[in-house]
């Protein structure tokens, strides 16, 4: 069974802090994704990666960056956290369909 693990379930950070959200998958998948989920808006794609050191912007990349130094790990970085980045963040990976999701990190920025 594919396992996608996000390092934190809940995180509280202050405005202006640099925040790292970590995601690890154990199935040697090439493709990994970061989504944020907000009520009424569904899931919106922030960034994705097709391979190590490769990254591409999704629909809402502003205020975020990513890092993929190893195949199994995909990190989402909030360079300077803002209150409008309070959200649920979901990491996913895919070999062939379907997407496999982690349990999410609920980030609150105060």
């Amino acid at each position: 069974d594919v396992k996608v693990t996000q390092s934190s379930r809940y995180l509280v950070k202050r405005t202006g802090e640099k925040v790292f959200l970590e995601c690890v998958q154990d199935m040697d998948h090439e493709n990994m994704f970061w989504y944020r989920q907000d009520p009424g808006l569904g899931l919106r794609l922030i960034y994705f990666s097709y391979d190590v050191k490769m990254k591409e912007k999704g629909d809402i990349p502003e205020g975020y960056s990513v890092s993929r130094e190893k195949k199994e790990r995909f990190s989402l970085i909030l360079e300077s956290a803002s209150t409008n980045q309070t959200s649920m963040y979901l990491c996913a990976s895919i070999g062939d369909s379907p997407l496999h999701f982690g349990n999410g990190t609920r980030l609150t920025v105060t």
Binding site: V4, F33, I94, S97, P98, L99, F101
Partner: protein, 111 residues
């Protein structure tokens, strides 16, 4: 950008009843998938239907796809309390791994 839209936004039914929710999308697709999300959790894949398929079954789930109307429906038969969750449709386009999700339908099954 958001491709799929689920309807209704919320649904409340009695245990044993059927639940039906719909998904509409805007552009041509390769596959359409349905996912379930229990409260506070990640999404779990339920079923995938390809663009050249019209109907698919998996246990108590039945999915239909009408590409001429750009719509899909998910039917859960004989619902149980454990079916209480949010359900999302997701579409991908040809030669593109990215999935576009709708806002979801929240289903509550009353005992």
């Amino acid at each position: 950008s958001q491709q799929g839209e689920e309807d209704p936004q919320a649904l409340s039914i009695q245990e044993g009843e059927n639940a039906t929710m719909n998904c509409s999308y805007k552009t041509s697709i390769n596959n359409l998938q349905w996912y379930r999300q229990n409260s506070g959790r990640g999404l779990v894949h339920l079923i995938l239907i390809r663009s050249n398929e019209r109907e698919k079954h998996s246990g108590r789930l039945r999915v239909t796809l009408d590409t001429s109307k750009k719509s899909s429906s998910l039917l859960i038969t004989a619902s149980r309390a454990a079916d209480t969750a949010s359900y999302f449709c997701a579409t991908d386009r040809p030669n593109d791994y990215k999935l576009s999700f709708g806002a979801g339908t929240t289903v509550t099954v009353r005992a």
